[in-house]
């Protein structure tokens, strides 16, 4: 089944659990459906974003998976901060948001952003007019700035540290409900 745009407009995070128990569990979305979205085609990270929705090796995602991925982008509510600390961290916590972004960099899933992975992302963002050496030195500089344990790659902890000044809660949040 295709997830049409109207369904996308109408989905509602808070009703997620209700839908999970209903027939909407049978909704499947395929990669081509995502690729049909025109803006994603011109987005430099389009392919990676699409891949983030699909779990390893699978070619289709159901509604629950779709929601799980999008749940990362829910704004952090104030009252959530005081919820019990013992429970599992909500998907839209700062750490989980950053982890989501980290996974988009780290394709081989070794929990490190290596120089090559960084280069690939840079190449995608910057286009084709820039030479490799330039990108290489930018990547080197980036890693050098962030790297603290000297392994010439950016681990998740280093990634978090580098972004500590960036207001991730605001940047990675979308107000879904108008």
């Amino acid at each position: 089944m295709m997830a049409s745009r109207t369904v996308q407009h109408n989905w509602n995070l808070d009703l997620c659990t209700y839908f999970l128990n209903s027939s909407l569990q049978l909704l499947w979305t395929h990669r081509e459906d995502f690729q049909r979205i025109p803006e994603l085609a011109i987005n430099p990270l389009g392919d990676r974003i699409i891949n983030a929705f699909f779990s390893e090796g699978e070619d289709q995602v159901n509604f629950r998976g779709f929601m799980r991925t999008l749940a990362h982008f829910r704004p952090i509510e104030d009252n959530e901060k005081s919820k019990d600390q013992n429970g599992p961290e909500p998907l839209n916590s700062r750490s989980n948001k950053l982890h989501f972004a980290f996974r988009l960099y780290d394709l081989d899933k070794d929990d490190k952003i290596s120089r090559d992975e960084l280069l690939q992302v840079l190449r995608m963002m910057v286009g084709v007019n820039i030479s490799d050496e330039q990108l290489g030195s930018i990547a080197d500089r980036t890693i050098q700035e962030a790297d603290q344990d000297g392994d010439c790659a950016i681990s998740f902890a280093e990634f978090v540290k580098v972004l500590e000044k960036v207001d991730v809660e605001q940047k990675m949040s979308i107000r879904f409900l108008h």
């Binding site: 987005n43 990270l45 050496e133 979308i174």
Partner: protein
């Protein structure tokens, strides 16, 4: 007496500045002999030297006048030739202006010397006090102190400050919080104006005989004048407390954008006060005029900004006057908006914001520095002058003190501000992702300072229609003093007490830039998937439009295609290099020059043939020493080499030699038995992403192999500077060699750039191979990855030294 005058000179300059000027004004009025003759009282030896000449002479203006008249009483048959004459009236106005500015600067200097005081008291307060003192002195001498004329204020003193603010406006935070800022500026100011005006009207009605005659409109006008938060005062105070960026941009943005509201309300009520009756139509027209004023102002600013950007595209040959274009176009925007009674401040800000990205891409690095420092200098001097004149005008103006009016104004101002902020924040928080905490709200309310704009607007009031102008002035001055002194002084300890987040001093790192852009793309993608057209979506659309059409028109040459990331990286490397020079000094020029940093400091250089950068003799010697000691071997490879015809920048020579050496090494290695990955054809982004999408690990950056020709540099060939293009692995069209196949495709190589890149000035030393951080980087580079790093082959770059 002369000795005493000489000893008193330093104090004379400071203390007598005030009395001098109005003293001269009086004298100019009195009839004088066209030129004082040599019968001047030369008996005063203080008159011999230049500086005390003016002072000592002017100290006794009355004496001189007597003398002049006495001289006139006995006309000489023939005037002897005046060896030394005095003609002050000739230079009076510039002289006085210079003296006032000099006083302002000396005061500023003095405050920093007395650092203990300036830690507690913000500079603006001290300056007002100085103004009060100077005004008091002038009055004590019996002269009339000058009042801050509204023309001078609005035409000369205010624009530099606003331009400085607008040109360096942190655009990212501004646009992210634009909704909040607009609501505070528009709704907040309207609320303040009407609340205050209405309440003051009520007070006037019940306030006794002195106030009864002030009508509703006059009160509303008063409310509209005093309700606006003043950008000058806010800047002056907030600059010193280093508060976090969000709060700073909220209060400051509000103070800038509320100008439109103030202008509209002011003109509205001023006009209405002349009408007998105010009809609905008038009110509707007033409402409409708000949009006209604000949007018209922005429109005028945008037009001038675009023209300025377009002009800067062609200034590559006249670098010295580039800053002038920026200043002139912005000032014209301001004046043009003022012609039509549009909001001049918004025009100024719009033009600054619009022209900045394009102008900065076009102008040279030195021009950029010039603009920055000129703007800071002018705005600083303006601010100082404004505060001093506020003090002087307080002493000079006629005041009408009415306890009820003044106290109630003060009270209601504060109440209106607090109430307004509370209500608006409650409303705004429903739409914000990051809510404003009560601490934030307190700072926003507390930061609502009033300043000189209110004073000048009131001063502009026509005395005939508003005979209570003096009372208004007194009340306004009281509120200004209260906000600047009390709120200005206490905000710093309050900020510390409430532990409000401070500004992070560190500069933006390359990591932040990359990851922020990454997140931007990510969020845009997610928004597209959801079908939710939010902030990121529109920003992305604007960026695309900008890249596709606007940049091509407004940015000269190849820089129009430069991605933002690269530009940021270049700026960062430049800054680092310059800092290194400044901290280390020339003595620390390393024995080798890091390939990486040079490459990125000046990747696209075409020598500016008209402006051969003049190196000092020392630098040249250092560079020659380096070349001599390290690059002996490569020198012989060059067939013909003439520095003066080739290139102006000597660092480029070093780089080029290293580049060639590196290429030789690579060629040797590659021939030696290293697998050559078949070169990936560079195709369109979609195709390459498709490839990545199918197999993320298969993408290899193009190895810099292929045919590396021997480089012959022919200085006579016009192509030769281009072949020096640093990031070209394979120099194009060099020495008659056919370009390799890759070059035919759009792509990998950077085309030669026009000499408009703000990179290649002579100030820097690429000395990063010294620092431990770059050594670590080199160590990293030597870590063999999937393809061998070219730097490893270099014998003369120390590895992990």
């Amino acid at each position: 007496m002369g000795a005493a005058a000489l000893r008193a000179l330093p104090w004379a300059l400071l203390l007598l500045l005030g009395p001098l000027l109005p003293g001269q004004r009086l004298q100019a009025d009195a009839t004088r002999v066209s030129e004082p003759t040599w019968e001047q009282p030369w008996g005063e030896p203080g008159g011999i030297t230049a500086a005390p000449l003016a002072t000592a002479q002017e100290v006794h203006p009355l004496n001189k006048q007597h003398h002049n008249h006495s001289a006139e009483g006995h006309p000489k048959p023939r005037k002897a030739f005046p060896v030394l004459g005095i003609d002050y009236s000739h230079v009076r106005i510039p002289f006085e202006i210079s003296l006032w500015i000099l006083l302002a600067c000396l005061m500023k200097m003095g405050f920093h010397v007395m650092s203990s005081v300036s830690k507690v008291v913000p500079e603006s307060c001290l300056l007002i006090v100085v103004g009060l003192l100077v005004g008091g002195l002038i009055k004590a001498v019996g002269e009339k102190p000058p009042i801050l004329k509204s023309d001078i204020f609005f035409l000369f003193l205010l624009p530099p400050i606003i331009l400085d603010a607008g040109y360096f406006l942190p655009l990212r935070q501004f646009t992210e919080n634009l909704g909040t800022i607009l609501i505070f500026a528009v709704v907040g100011t309207l609320w303040n104006a009407f609340f205050l005006g209405g309440l003051m009207y009520a007070v006037c009605q019940i306030g006794g005989s002195g106030l009864n005659h002030i009508g509703l409109l006059a009160n509303l006008l008063f409310g509209s004048i005093i309700s606006a938060v003043d950008p000058v005062a806010v800047l002056a105070v907030f600059e010193e407390i280093h508060i976090n960026e969000l709060l700073h941009i909220l209060v400051f943005g509000e103070s800038l954008l509320n100008d439109a509201v103030t202008v509209v309300l002011y003109h509205l009520f001023e006009e209405f006060a002349n009408f007998e009756q105010v009809t609905i139509i008038d009110m509707v027209l007033g409402f409409l005029s708000f949009f006209v004023v604000s949007l018209g102002g922005v429109f005028v600013g945008v037009i001038y900004g675009l023209i300025a950007a377009f002009t800067s595209r062609f200034t590559s040959n006249i670098r010295v006057i580039e800053p002038l274009f920026v200043f002139l176009y912005s000032y014209m925007a301001y004046l043009s908006a003022e012609i039509f009674h549009l909001s001049g401040i918004m025009a100024l800000i719009a033009s600054g914001v619009v022209m900045r990205p394009y102008v900065e891409a076009n102008i040279s690095h030195k021009s950029h520095t010039t603009i920055k420092y000129f703007l800071k200098m002018w705005s600083s001097v303006s601010e100082t002058l404004i505060f001093i004149f506020l003090g002087v005008s307080t002493v000079a103006g006629q005041h009408y003190w009415n306890w009820t009016f003044v106290i109630s104004t003060l009270l209601f101002c504060l109440i209106a501000r607090v109430l307004g902020v509370l209500v608006l924040t409650w409303f705004i928080n429903k739409f914000r992702i990051v809510k404003l905490t009560p601490k934030d709200q307190f700072i926003i309310a507390y930061g609502g300072l009033r300043g000189a704009i209110a004073f000048s607007l009131c001063y502009l009031l026509d005395y005939e229609h508003f005979n209570m102008r003096d009372m208004f002035l007194t009340a306004i001055i009281t509120v200004i003093f209260f906000t600047v002194f009390v709120q200005g002084m206490t905000i710093r300890p309050l900020v510390d007490l409430l532990a409000v987040k401070k500004k992070q001093e560190t500069k933006r790192s390359i990591n932040e830039e990359i990851h922020t852009q990454f997140l931007d793309h990510l969020l845009t993608g997610i928004e597209d998937i959801c079908g939710h057209y939010g902030h990121h979506h529109w920003k992305d659309k604007l960026n695309r439009f900008n890249k596709k059409y606007v940049k091509k028109c407004l940015i000269a040459g190849e820089r129009s295609k430069e991605p933002q990331l690269i530009a940021f990286y270049h700026k960062m490397e430049m800054k680092q290099a310059i800092e290194l020079v400044e901290s280390g000094g020339l003595g620390k020029i390393p024995s080798t020059i890091s390939a990486v940093s040079i490459q990125n400091i000046s990747p696209k250089t075409l020598p500016d043939s008209n402006a051969l950068s003049a190196l000092s003799k020392d630098k040249e010697d250092e560079i020659r020493k380096i070349l001599r000691s390290n690059l002996q071997k490569t020198r012989q490879r060059l067939r013909s080499y003439n520095r003066h015809t080739l290139v102006a920048d000597p660092y480029e020579d070093v780089w080029n030699q290293m580049l060639m050496k590196r290429q030789k090494m690579q060629q040797a290695e590659l021939q030696n038995a290293y697998l050559t990955v078949p070169a990936n054809r560079i195709d369109s982004p979609t195709m390459s992403r498709a490839r990545i999408g199918s197999d993320p690990l298969a993408y290899e950056p193009k190895p810099d192999s292929e045919n590396l020709p021997i480089i012959t540099i022919d200085p006579a060939s016009p192509q030769s500077p281009e072949s020096m293009d640093l990031s070209n692995e394979v120099p194009k069209g060099c020495g008659g060699l056919p370009p390799s196949p890759e070059e035919d495709e759009e792509g990998l190589v950077m085309r030669p750039k026009e000499p408009s890149s703000p990179g290649t000035d002579d100030v820097f030393t690429p000395g990063t191979s010294d620092s431990p951080s770059s050594q670590r980087m080199l160590r990293c580079l030597s870590d063999p990855g999937p393809r061998q790093e070219p730097e490893e082959g270099e014998p003369f770059i120390p590895k992990g030294q």
